[in-house]
């Protein structure tokens, strides 16, 4: 509860809904065009935790970049709470697979980047300390990124996203490169954070189990160009256990959809 907002601060909307309508996207390659997304339709309700699952290189990450506003789709529209997404906005924060912390800035400065960029750092300095405490990085506030372990760096990257109170958290395989133990811990922390803060979360992963432990809904994408192949609801209370028979059954079903016989 350490991140409960104090009443003095402007209350930003805790979550937002997404409407992805007939979105297709192509990349310019040398001399040709590569289609990565093929008529994607997807609605995400406010406060929902949705996992996007699919073979690697299928275009899931591209979809997140489009939602973040870093790129605009070749065709189709993406609406956040009914308004078209035209550019990046701190209400929608993308967490990358690599921590991509600025190596020249301390952990504290990295975490404060979003506030500083918007001129809010002075007014909300306390939020940076809260985010550092929440991600267990207080002792490393003055360290530089190269002094952090992989798990700590990714936690710092999460803290950097969370200080902005995002209404939508876009997670692009943020735990993909971590060792399995660190990954399990961070998965738990992610769920706790999401339940406490109530933001909408969109997680790209190729780890079926991770999707099952975290998400309320799992969207399975096809090979590139990606389209929605199947959708699964996971109606199990948190915290979930990987050995839960229902989870195990769903896991098998999803793996079969992905083309793996188990």
């Amino acid at each position: 509860m350490s991140l409960a907002r104090s009443s003095r601060e402007p209350v930003s909307q805790p979550s937002l809904s997404l409407e992805i309508d007939n979105v297709s996207h192509e990349f310019d390659l040398v001399g040709s065009r590569l289609k990565v997304l093929d008529s994607i339709h997807l609605s995400v309700a406010s406060g929902e935790f949705v996992a996007l699952l699919g073979p690697s290189g299928c275009g899931k990450s591209t979809l997140l970049r489009l939602i973040s506003g870093l790129e605009t789709p070749t065709s189709g529209s993406i609406l956040a709470d009914g308004a078209p997404i035209l550019r990046p906005d701190p209400s929608r924060i993308l967490v990358f697979q690599d921590p991509t912390l600025f190596p020249w800035a301390t952990v504290r400065a990295n975490v404060g980047t979003g506030l500083e960029a918007r001129g809010l750092l002075k007014a909300r300095r306390g939020r940076v300390d809260e985010a550092l405490a929440l991600t267990d990085l207080t002792a490393f506030a003055s360290a530089y990124p190269h002094q952090l372990s992989g798990g700590m760096a990714q936690r710092a990257s999460l803290a950097r996203a969370l200080v902005n109170d995002p209404a939508l958290l876009l997670l692009d395989e943020p735990l993909g490169k971590l060792d399995s133990l660190t990954r399990l811990t961070l998965q738990e922390e992610l769920v706790k954070l999401w339940r406490r803060r109530g933001f909408t979360a969109l997680l790209v992963t190729h780890d079926v189990e991770e999707a099952l432990l975290l998400a309320g809904r799992i969207i399975v994408f096809s090979e590139r160009p990606a389209h929605v192949k199947a959708e699964f609801r996971v109606e199990k209370p948190y915290p979930r256990h990987r050995d839960d028979p229902e989870i195990v059954a769903l896991r098998r079903e999803i793996l079969e959809t992905l083309g793996l016989k188990t």
Partner: protein
């Protein structure tokens, strides 16, 4: 075998009092050798006559003799100095070598005359220059530092701004990069005839030449530094709500710093090279001017004395830049252990 030799060797030592043995063992031996070498220089300077007159060697003998006494004292003090000890011990061989070098220098020039006047000068010849021509040399140092400072810093500032713009803006790079690549390799001194036409005074022309020499490598390296920054840092910045100005200040500028320092070091060396040439053009003071002036009068002792000053000045400035780099780039891997 070696065991037997050791046992035999300790024989006479054992007959000495124990405290003396202890003192001898603790003594910084290289300090003793340094004292010996420096004392030899002093003795050679005083005892042997000069084959060619070079002025009095007394001050030089006093200095080297004082150095010898200092090293003699240090030989017994250094073992008890604590942290400073390591520095003395590390440079011990250098202290000896300098003493030997001074003695040889003294012998080959003033004492035996193997290295003849006027092209060579004994060490006390240089010392006499510092003593007799100090006011003029100080003025020259001041002029040189003024020209270098104005040229280097204005060149670096312009070069840096141009470099950031080239690395950041596609349009600026489209027009600017080919021009920079074309004129960059031209030695700055080749512009001298043109600059005299464009600038009202030779002083301004000299500043421009020094600035050009230092600015161009800074511009090129800064541009490549900004261009080589991982694009995902900009993505992160934009996702977090940063505008262009923030991206430049907080990502492009610090991210390009390692490259910028390479450019600064290159620019620094070029600026020294050009500085002397620039000072030989219609200047009234300055170390470069002084060297040229003294060469014309075969004042080679003055030339050597000035070269020594320049060596110390330039390496001092390089050292300062290293300190600045280590401060600003602590975030780089390997600087902090």
């Amino acid at each position: 075998m070696s065991e037997a030799v050791r046992v035999f060797d300790t024989g006479p030592a054992a007959s000495r009092p124990a405290w003396l043995d202890q003192v001898w063992r603790a003594t910084w031996k290289q300090g003793l050798f340094a004292a010996l070498a420096w004392a030899a220089t002093a003795v050679v300077t005083i005892a042997l006559p000069d084959v060619v007159p070079w002025g009095s060697g007394r001050l030089f003998a006093e200095i080297t003799g004082g150095g010898a006494l200092l090293f003699l004292a240090l030989a017994f003090l250094v073992p008890h100095l604590g942290p400073a000890r390591a520095g003395f011990v590390h440079y011990g061989p250098w202290f000896i070598a300098i003493g030997v070098w001074l003695a040889l220098w003294q012998l080959t020039t003033a004492k035996f005359g193997w290295l003849p006047k006027p092209f060579f000068s004994p060490p006390h010849g240089l010392l006499n220059v510092y003593v007799t021509d100090a006011p003029r040399l100080l003025i020259c140092i001041g002029y040189t530092l003024r020209l270098w400072g104005l040229g280097f810093f204005s060149g670096v500032i312009v070069g840096y701004v141009v470099g950031v713009a080239l690395g950041w803006s596609k349009r600026f790079s489209y027009w600017g990069m080919p021009i920079l690549k074309l004129i960059g390799p031209v030695p700055a001194t080749a512009w001298i005839p043109v600059t005299f036409y464009f600038f009202p005074t030779t002083f301004l022309a000299s500043i421009f030449i020094v600035g050009l020499a230092s600015g161009i490598p800074v511009a090129i390296l800064t541009a490549s530094g900004v261009g080589s920054i991982n694009k995902s840092y900009y993505d992160v910045g934009r996702v977090l709500g940063a505008g262009d100005w923030y991206l430049i200040r907080k990502i492009a500028v610090p991210g390009s710093l390692p490259h910028v320092f390479v450019g600064l070091f290159m620019g620094l060396y070029y600026s020294f090279a050009v500085l002397v040439v620039a000072e030989m053009l219609g200047a009234k003071f300055g170390l470069g001017w002084y060297i040229q002036f003294q060469t014309a009068y075969s004042g080679y002792a003055n030339v050597y004395a000035t070269l020594l000053i320049m060596a110390i000045l330039c390496s001092g400035i390089v050292r300062l830049l290293f300190v600045a780099r280590d401060r600003l780039l602590v975030w780089q891997k390997g600087f902090i252990s």
